[in-house]
Symmetry: C2
Subunit: 573 residues, 2 copies
Amino acid sequence: MFKLKGFKPDWTNEPPPNGTYRSIFKWGAPDMFKHPNHRLYAMIKKEFLMTDADFEKKQYQGNEPVKVETPLRLAGQQVEQFIQIVGRENVSLDDYSRTKYASGKTMEEAMQLRRGIAGEVADLVVHPRSKEDVCKIVIYCNEQKIPVYVYGGGSSVNLGFKPVKGGITLVMNTHMNRVLSFNETNQTITVEPGIMGPAYENMLNNAPDFFNAKRRYTGGHFPQSFEYSSVGGWIVTLGSGQQSSYYGDMYDIVLSQEYVTPAGSFKTYDYPATATGPKVNDIMKGSEGAFGVLVNATLKIFRYMPENRRKFALMFSTWADAVSAAREISQAEFGMPSVFRISDPEETDVALKLYGIEGTVIDRLISLKGFKPMERCLCIGHTEGEKGFTKNVKKKVKRICRQHGAMYITGYPVKSWEHGRYTDPYMREDLNDFGIMIDTLESGVTWDKLHNLHQGVRTYIKSRPNTICMTHASHFYPQGTNLYFIFMARMNDLNEYKNFQEGVIDQIQKHGGSLSHHHGVGKMIAPWMEDHLGTVQMDVLRALKSHFDPHNIMNPGGTLYLDTPEPEKRFVT
Amino acid sequence: MFKLKGFKPDWTNEPPPNGTYRSIFKWGAPDMFKHPNHRLYAMIKKEFLMTDADFEKKQYQGNEPVKVETPLRLAGQQVEQFIQIVGRENVSLDDYSRTKYASGKTMEEAMQLRRGIAGEVADLVVHPRSKEDVCKIVIYCNEQKIPVYVYGGGSSVNLGFKPVKGGITLVMNTHMNRVLSFNETNQTITVEPGIMGPAYENMLNNAPDFFNAKRRYTGGHFPQSFEYSSVGGWIVTLGSGQQSSYYGDMYDIVLSQEYVTPAGSFKTYDYPATATGPKVNDIMKGSEGAFGVLVNATLKIFRYMPENRRKFALMFSTWADAVSAAREISQAEFGMPSVFRISDPEETDVALKLYGIEGTVIDRLISLKGFKPMERCLCIGHTEGEKGFTKNVKKKVKRICRQHGAMYITGYPVKSWEHGRYTDPYMREDLNDFGIMIDTLESGVTWDKLHNLHQGVRTYIKSRPNTICMTHASHFYPQGTNLYFIFMARMNDLNEYKNFQEGVIDQIQKHGGSLSHHHGVGKMIAPWMEDHLGTVQMDVLRALKSHFDPHNIMNPGGTLYLDTPEPEKRFVT
């Protein structure tokens, strides 16, 4: 076993006490931890000009019990009405529930919760049992003008369900997490929105046991939040998983949906294709709770064939080479790898530490062959699909990468990545404990603007001294890709952080990137929406909002910029 | 050369005289003809209980000069205004133009025009030169409440642009048919909506000459109307081409669009993916001119690699086998063939005649092997894409078909199909000349409802004595396919035809098919929309309509059922 030499920070290894702020903002399972390895720790100290002494004392751990100052703004009669609809056991008024179901996973919320600030909370937390419950609730709230927020898995990174106007929060994963039907002929499954990623995928993988199916299936959707996000959340935020280059994103995967809105309930058809005018089914995707409540969805499923999966990893000399090869792969029409990811030089440097490649034979070989640190770029991936298909994809990927000067470095880095694909977010708590901020923003971009966007955002982030900026592209299309920016700095002041983050969004907007590629917009990025889409297009979204929700009770207070007050508007261009 | 024995009808071989009704309803090029071959002619006589004598005299040929009874409903000042905007040479008031640009290609219109009935026509035909012209026109028409219809290529089969409320018709293919930009890096092209299929495809195929590109490209969209339809028409009607199983339909292919609407003009972004709320870009697709005028669009293009194309044809024992194999192919994840088509027994019977297979060695071999007429089903297709990909697709298609009892019958039938893929519609005039109606309706359907829909519609059509009903599936998805119904009968009465056609649509709706798979809805199928989508979803479309077009000037009079009078509503279920 490898033994650490010298000082090692006292990373937290205890589940947070029940009822505390920390139990809310901590990522994932209470008793699960992942700490920075010694190479990462060394890098952090170096980059942020820190010493072991800076890692002796944790700050703002949020171990205090949650306390809410906001008084209940609902009348007793109104509370009674909700109890009548869903049963007393499915209504919560306590401070802890109100805070927990008001909180997502933004850096901003973590910083606040660590300081004992609960922020805006709903008055009441309601756990609906069925579509019928949701119907009654929405009708009643519409009558009484009570705001309705919806909590899926709670992993929002943009204040998506933040109950800024109070009212009630519907928690979908308590009861409304069932499979309603499974259709092997059509390769579809119909589920309630609160079903969580692992439960969903597990049933599909084991469809012969659960549904008496002939085959095993997969949902094909694996965002980094997979373990702690819900199918409904994936849909209403336009999520895109790490294997979307092959399986498509949620916009592609969802075949039909049923919604309860103040303007009525409806279920769209599950036709594989139709030409009957603008598609209401698609209009609802990405509506982020502002039009109505998703009560069930029918999704495409795919054959689960892990035996055909083929892994690969390559090292490029430069980012330009990696991008050129990725574009050729995306346009060459042999099908796409499922996981496919190219890291820029700074991320490559960190990845080699994170994946345990630094110091290995592979590492020495890469260096020997002349791939220089802070120039070289890592590419990892794996294929999915029928056997002959995956074989051909891997062969062509390798060929194209080599034509762009890349060196094949075995499947080992992919295995390391797979191992950590859902657990890396656990490290945030360790970093935050010692005043280090880590956050991400992502953007969709066409090939011709990619370098401009990458440079523009990097220049801004790196203009702040001692700040790490790692970038990768991980979702590929013939017309472009996404850029995923991860930035880290020693930064412990909420205002400083907010200003910095706003600056990054400004740069994305200025350099021709989409405001969001797969995290949705929420209330955090909404102020840029009018500048981004333009008033005429925003008016279309506002017209839909007025139609579905004339009293503005559905996720009010800034979602998608539908009702943001004018002064909060942010103009960049 | 093969020489016909016996009687041969005097099929029309002369271009219709200028200015006549026939010159309007005749399909395609004035001097292009395709006549039924002797086997088809023999079949027609047999099926419809006709003799050579019935083919001696043509009826209702529509060779009379067009005459319009509808008076001009615009004031002189209004006409002057349009002249001022686009120039006198771009405004037409004559009877012929008013009728030509009011007419699509429905059976109903053909029957009327043959009888000298021009039907509803616009007051004025306007040929805008640019986006700026369209802007001025829409602003003026909105002020003056003048209806605006848009004519693309004129191939609508559902009264899509029928100017039932008069006003003006904008003809897009006169001037607004240019390529605005070509982006090889992103693999996109930006065009005006009036560009016609062949011009579009030709420029892409020859991109090195036209755009100084490194490669040749294809648009990947080949509807049967390809030669006489426009890119803009494909988009606003949600068209789907014969190679959509590989390239996707227009909903997939269109990356961004610019529209002029009474509520303002806007251009959507060309991001390859974005998560910034409901997609206005997609809301506009399929809006059939009811929200605004499409003035340009950016489309995905694909590499043109005909050298990798691999053809195949197979014969199945039964329709059930053909459907099962097609489903397996669509779900097996090796990629899809580009052209892929299975014909039911009745269509197979006709196809063998039409493609010249009847009486050949292949035909004898099929029969010898026990594939029985009116049971056996033809499957044809070809692949597209990278070399290793197409090779694998063909191999897997053949393997799966054989596992379902099919016999490989070479690529010959595909070549015959390719030869006739755009020319078969020319035969309609010959049939109509002798009082034989031929028409089509199509529907999207999930696999689990396919047989029910096929049987339901067939039973209805075949319940009429001496009526041919041919069906194929030609657009494949993992979740289902389309069914394309072609029906033929000796029928020359407009009311009888209308009743019969309405009955077919009723059956589609009753048996779980989509009202339209790729022809759009227009004013013909609109009366079924409310029953089909339900009032809550129709209200969403109506809310969008009110937003974009508060004075109802854009394609008014029944498009998508947005403003159809209540009594015309058709309820089936």
